[in-house]
């Protein structure tokens, strides 16, 4: 870095001399303006130089500029040539701030602004530059993050300053990562000694560097790299197995969530609820609506969506129950017909009232990224949360069905309606509550799914078939069955997928269900007793 610094400083001197005339007050601004002017060029190489210059300038606002540049928010007013930082860039009119004076300038039309564009190469360079700046912050986590970002990104010129940094670094992890980052660069230069520092690491950049080295012409280097790789591969295989299991459980948890509400409305009440998917959709849209109400606080909005999604879907469920299903008592197949109609109406309602387009649901910070178990195995956080959420919902439902008065009454009514009524249970009320419960749980599923997939009018249709499969496979009327069925189908699917491909895996799972039902015509956990016989 010193080399770059001296070079840049030389350049800077020249520039500064050229602009020496202006008044002292404007001096700081002029320096900044000069730095920024250099960015306004069509050549990405020249922009790269300009970025380095800014980073080295020590200008108090340099970091802001680089971040704005990284976000595409550093722009220039067309007519005045003034550099501005855009604060929000949606719509046609954007609030902006002067890049130099930090003064709020109100709104400007998108037409009047020219963006200082970057491409991926420059973005990488910017990120590195920022990472280097971060390596000096006192925050250990930020330093580790920065060091990890540097893996595979170290250029020959950076080796020296980084080595200096390693010596001064207090944190072992940062030191290890930096050493590896440097070693990758040394490996690329053909340094056999670097292999040792890298062996055992599961990081993708490390592996990538070793694979490249294994192909090198230098026999000794290639040999060493291959050995190190073999060790890594072995570790990876174990990780791969765990990863597949996690993928399977994660997919399974989605299936369980989607199906568990149906396990109540269909399994317990016998309503073939084709609008179940649309209830899920309502939950997802609630999340979207909540985020619209609380802009800038996606996490809070998501948390609030859990009760809200439940309520919205439950209310919709009550309307469906009162409006349609109560007239179809004892005619389960006709509930299929009517609820299919309801599902069409709900879908089109969303299309007309909100939009036929998908809606953006933002993932809160704490749900993005992954939980790193080790360098080779990291569990994606959003799916981890969904998995946990699915289990919580399941546990909650079990509690309701097993431990509450409502659960008891539901079980009584489903087993013998007339008898339950004669014992003073208000069967109609139980119906409403059960249906509301099942619908509400579908809403919860929607809240969770909004974190994984599209929020749009078609959301429900994508899950309705799978949901019925899961409930039936598990055994109608059995919540445990739904849980086991969902998780096991998920795992089977993910185990088959690498081997058979996504489509074939799904087909095989369906064939498996068909054959399984031949073996056990009433699912995994059949309802017992003579009452169940036809």
């Amino acid at each position: 870095m010193r080399t770059i610094r001296s070079l840049v400083q030389g350049l800077l001197c020249l520039v500064v001399i050229g602009f020496a005339a202006p008044a002292a007050l404007a001096g700081a601004d002029d320096e900044g303006r000069t730095l920024l002017e250099a960015l306004d060029t069509d050549s990405y190489a020249a922009k790269g130089e300009a970025v380095t210059a800014i980073a080295e300038s020590g200008h108090p606002r340099s970091r802001d500029w680089l971040e704005a540049l990284l976000d595409g928010k550093l722009q220039r007013q067309e007519d005045t040539g003034r550099f501005v930082v855009v604060l929000a860039n949606r719509g046609r009119h954007w609030p902006v701030r002067d890049a130099l004076s930090d003064e709020e300038l109100g709104e400007m039309s998108r037409r009047d602004l020219d963006r200082i564009g970057i491409n991926n190469a420059l973005r990488g360079r910017l990120q590195n530059t920022l990472a280097l700046l971060d390596l000096r912050t006192p925050d250990v986590t930020a330093r580790r993050e920065a060091a990890r970002d540097l893996l595979g990104e170290v250029s020959p010129a950076m080796v020296e300053p980084l080595t200096a940094l390693v010596e001064g670094e207090a944190d072992d992890e940062v030191r290890r990562l930096l050493t590896q980052a440097i070693a990758i660069q040394r490996l690329a230069q053909g340094d056999v000694g670097a292999v040792e520092a890298l062996s055992g690491s599961l990081n993708a950049s490390v592996r990538s560097a070793l694979s490249a080295a294994a192909r090198s012409d230098d026999a000794a280097l290639a040999e060493a790299a291959r050995e190190a790789l073999a060790g890594i591969e072995q570790k990876l295989e174990l990780n791969g197995g765990l990863e597949t299991l996690y993928f399977g459980l994660s997919l399974g948890s989605v299936l369980v969530l989607a199906a568990i509400g149906l396990a109540i409305t269909f399994g317990v009440m016998g309503v073939i609820n084709m609008a179940h998917g649309e209830l899920i959709m309502l939950g997802a849209y609630t999340t979207w609506g909540m985020q619209q109400l609380l802009p800038g606080q996606p996490g809070l909005a998501l948390l609030l969506s859990i009760p809200a999604g439940f309520l919205v879907a439950a209310l919709a469920g009550i309307v469906i129950e009162r409006g349609v299903i109560q007239f179809l008592k004892g005619r389960p197949l006709e509930t299929l017909l009517a609820t299919f109609g309801v599902s069409l109406i709900l879908q089109q309602l969303v299309r007309t009232l909100i939009s036929p387009l998908n809606r953006t649901v933002v993932s809160p910070e704490w749900m993005s990224g992954s939980l790193m178990i080790n360098e080779g195995l990291s569990l994606t956080l959003n799916r981890l949360y969904v998995l946990g959420f699915a289990l919580l919902v399941f546990a909650g439902l079990m509690l309701v069905m097993r431990r509450t008065r409502l659960g008891l009454e539901v079980r009584a009514v489903t087993q013998n309606r007339a008898m339950a009524r004669s014992m003073g249970i208000r069967a109609n009320r139980v119906d409403i509550l059960t249906f509301a419960l099942g619908s509400g749980v579908a809403g919860l599923a929607g809240v969770a799914l909004s974190q994984l997939t599209n929020v749009g009018p078609n959301l429900g249709q994508n899950y309705i078939i799978d949901s019925f499969m899961v409930v039936v496979f598990g055994g109608v009327g059995n919540l445990w069955g739904t849980l086991v069925a969902g998780l096991s189908l998920g795992v089977i699917n993910q185990v088959l997928e690498p081997w058979a491909g996504a489509v074939l895996a799904k087909i095989l799972v369906l064939v498996f269900i068909i054959l399984f039902i031949q073996k056990r015509p009433r699912g995994l956990f059949p309802q017992k007793g003579r009452a169940a016989e036809g």
């Binding site: 073939i272 084709m274 349609v324 007239f327 179809l328 004892g330 005619r331 389960p332 197949l333 006709e334 299929l336 017909l337 009517a338 299919f340 109609g341 309801v342 599902s343 069409l344 109406i345 879908q347 089109q348 309602l349 007309t352 249709q461 078939i465 019925f468 499969m469 039936v472 109608v476 489509v503 074939l504 799904k506 087909i507 369906l510 064939v511 269900i513 068909i514 054959l515 039902i517 031949q518 073996k519 015509p521 009433r522 699912g523 016989e533 036809g534």
Partner: protein
Amino acid sequence: MLASRSWLSRPFRERSTQIFLGVLLAALAVVTLLNLVVPAGHPLHVSTYTVTLLGKYLSFALLAVALDLVWGYLGILSLGHGAFFALGGYAMGMYLMRQIGDRGVYGDPVLPDFMVFLDWDRLPWYWHGFDMAWFAFLMVLLAPGILALVFGFLAFRSRVTGVYLSIITQALTFALMLAFFRNEMGFGGNNGLTDFKELLGFDLRGDATRLGLFLASGVALALGYVLCRAIVASKLGRVSVACRDAEARTRFLGYRVERVQLFVFVVSAMLAGVAGALYVPQVGIINPGEFSPIFSIEVVLWVALGGRGTLYGAVIGALVVNYAKTVFTGVMPEAWLFALGGLFVVVTVLLPKGVAGLLETLRRRRDGEATETSAQGANS
């Protein structure tokens, strides 16, 4: 035994069948006349567009009749009848593809365009024979028939019933849909089979061919209806109703319930296949969309709306829903789903026995009959 006394001729002696056939054949004749004789500008003229549309409805009606046979009289709610329909359609489509010959865009004499497009150098084995009409038409029956036989054999032998059976039929059609979407399967993937030229030497674009297809659909519907009526009115028909209502009892009377189920299921699947084969040349395309579970559910809705367990109700349901769909998608493109969805809800809640049930009630009210015999229909 006298021919007139055979089980097949029994329906012709039933009044309801006579009325049905009379109305159907009269309608065919009227449409043909209005299409051929009345000049194009005249308000009474039925355009070829309408004729083709009606032909499509009739093939759907045949599918609905096939479904009503298993659902209404055997109590098997198949949510996968679209699969049999589509298989029949694909068999027909494969024949039509082979008929294109070297008139495809690439001019390959044997390979259909999509295979040239995907670099296939030879015809997959299962495409052989489809250049011969008799073979293709046989496959229209056999492909769905064999699938129904194998699937039914497994399911009925294991006594899979009720909603479990419904869901695995759904799984069946879903799996087939995914399979046919795969381009490796050699059925044209998502695009399916299209750009047909001619059928049995007749140009598919010709008005006469379209009218002919319409009439063929009408006749097929009539024959299918008579066949179903014949089965329903036979002792076997009563046995299947017995299976529907009290399966165990029927077994204890000494009937092989699973064989009855299998027989009726296979017949129904073949009828669905015929419907598909008639549908394809009229709409000009067959693709995996027909396998979609939603389509099969829609077919169930036609039957339910028309009135389950009456056969003619299925025909009414198919015609009404599809006509409504045609009208609504044109007249109120933004809101037709509300209308269709609303129709399903209203009919289910207000007309539990469908349109046929309503007709029956009206008829009885008019006749002032007090006999309860026909009042008790199938209870689900």
